[in-house]
């Protein structure tokens, strides 16, 4: 294997380094908020997510119906575009919020949405529940965080393939087969507890049965239409998921214990915010994961004076991200150091952040 500047595997050199440097399950910086204000922000409610979920499902049904109606003519394309984005991209934020258990107040609603959205974004719910837990414990800590979308140097080929969720779906497919056979990978075993493994295996088998049923429906009807409605939208509609997802941390510091330095808060338009369920307030989300998506704009107002300047638009974020990733291909030590406002408390860069090339 070609030596890489950093070892992003969860069982390799840099996981040991992270331990040595005190970066594992460490204490993270959080802006101080009055307890009463924070309680108000954390308060749960069913109504915003019920409203948003009903709109989301109604749009899915309407666009799906239009796509079926116009199937065989070019007119189906815009319907599939809308259906695909709702199915294969906005399911990412639904998966995320419901996974945290904050979208709804009522627990079963979170669980139901979590499972539906997991299938739509083509992620195994149990595996990703635990990987996301680790992502919150050790955000962008090399060797610990399984969800680093832009390692250094960035893997541009995989990123490009993931515009249509190709690399990620291929990985999921292989994982499903492994899990259906009753096995976890060595990396998965580091973050999935023993007592959750049976559930991983069961859900993998259910996913494969659903996919087989869709393939059978295609064979019986002699048409790809069933797969265009279930399964393939995760691919052809997945481009907005990476478009949003990459803005969260790509190009920012690794191995720092301060989300203001490794996450982005970006102002987005209302349509993006509906699709992305306010995850553009990403510093806020990481610092206070108990605050539901609908309260993140208010949380942003409460802490903004202690945070770096938010990006004024997604475009502005990409004007930084794209050149940074291209430069990191040649110079993997390079990253964007975010400027904190003057006089705010800061966490010193941890020694683990010192770039260290592999021997």
């Amino acid at each position: 294997m070609t030596p890489t500047p950093r070892d992003y595997s969860l069982v390799g050199r840099d996981s040991a380094l992270a331990e040595e440097n005190g970066l594992v399950a460490a204490k993270w910086y959080a802006v101080k908020i009055d307890r009463k204000d924070l309680k108000r922000l954390m308060r749960r409610s069913d109504s915003p997510a019920i409203r948003d979920t009903l709109i989301w499902l109604a749009l899915l049904v309407a666009s799906g119906a239009g796509a079926v109606y116009f199937w065989g003519s070019w007119l189906c394309v815009p319907f599939f575009l809308v259906y695909g984005v709702l199915y294969g991209s906005s399911s990412d934020s639904r998966w995320h919020e419901a996974g945290h258990g904050t979208a709804f107040k009522t627990r079963w609603m979170n669980v139901a949405l979590y499972h539906l959205a997991s299938f739509m974004i083509f992620r195994e719910p149990t595996i990703w529940m635990w990987s996301h837990t680790r992502h919150h414990t050790d955000t962008i800590i090399v060797g610990r965080d399984p969800e680093i979308a832009a390692p250094r140097p960035p893997d541009l080929r995989t990123m490009l393939l993931n515009i249509f969720a190709l690399a990620s779906s291929w990985k999921t497919l292989r994982s499903l087969l492994r899990h259906a056979a009753g096995r976890l990978s060595a990396e998965e075993a580091t973050f999935v507890p023993q007592n959750e493994q049976a559930r991983v295996f069961l859900i993998a088998r259910i996913y494969l049965v659903i996919l087989a049923a869709v393939a059978l429906a295609c064979a019986v009807t002699g048409s790809i239409l069933p797969a265009m409605l279930i399964g393939l939208p995760s691919l052809y509609g997945g481009f907005m998921a990476i478009f949003f997802g990459l803005t969260q941390h790509a190009g920012l510091a690794e191995d720092v214990l301060d989300h203001r330095l490794n996450s982005r808060t970006i102002y987005m338009n209302p349509i993006f915010r509906f699709l992305y369920w306010n995850m553009n307030y990403h510093i806020e989300h990481h610092m206070f994961p108990m605050v539901p998506y609908h309260a993140l704009p208010k949380l942003h107002e409460a802490i903004r004076d202690d945070c770096p300047e938010p990006y004024p638009s997604t475009w502005a974020a990409y004007r930084e991200i794209i050149p940074t990733l291209l430069r990191q291909v040649r110079d993997p030590g390079y990253f964007i150091a975010r400027n904190l406002p003057h006089n705010v408390e800061a966490v010193p860069h941890n020694p683990g952040a010192v770039f260290k090339a592999a021997e």
Binding site: A25, R44, G101, T102, N195, M290
Partner: protein, 105 residues
């Protein structure tokens, strides 16, 4: 640690439907007050990654951990979802003359 009643705080130190931390003999406890003025005490650190539950959210008789949203029933200590697998230890409580006592040990 002693197996006796310990004066933990004044009951008004805890808001309705809220939690505070209490340290005694080097051990952290979480003290809860429900909306209907019942008091409970548990270990103060989440069984998942030892995060202080006093920064969490009380909803009815559930405490949600601030780190990964793991949930416990504060009346029994039982896990109620999220990434928590191990139950929380609970302690008896008593209110006397406006003060909350917990049975430590």
């Amino acid at each position: 640690m002693t197996n006796e009643w310990t004066d933990a705080c004044a009951i008004d130190d805890i808001d309705e439907e809220d939690v505070i931390a209490f340290e005694h003999d080097g051990h952290e406890y979480a003290l809860y007050r429900t909306e209907d003025d019942r008091f409970f005490a548990t270990d103060g650190l989440c069984t998942h990654e030892q995060v202080s539950l006093a920064d969490g959210l009380v909803m009815g008789t559930i405490i949600e951990c601030p780190k990964h949203n793991g949930r416990f029933d504060i009346t029994t200590g039982q896990t109620k979802g999220g990434p928590v697998c191990e139950h929380l230890k609970t302690y008896e409580t008593q209110v006397r003359d406006g003060r909350l006592f917990i049975r430590t040990g």
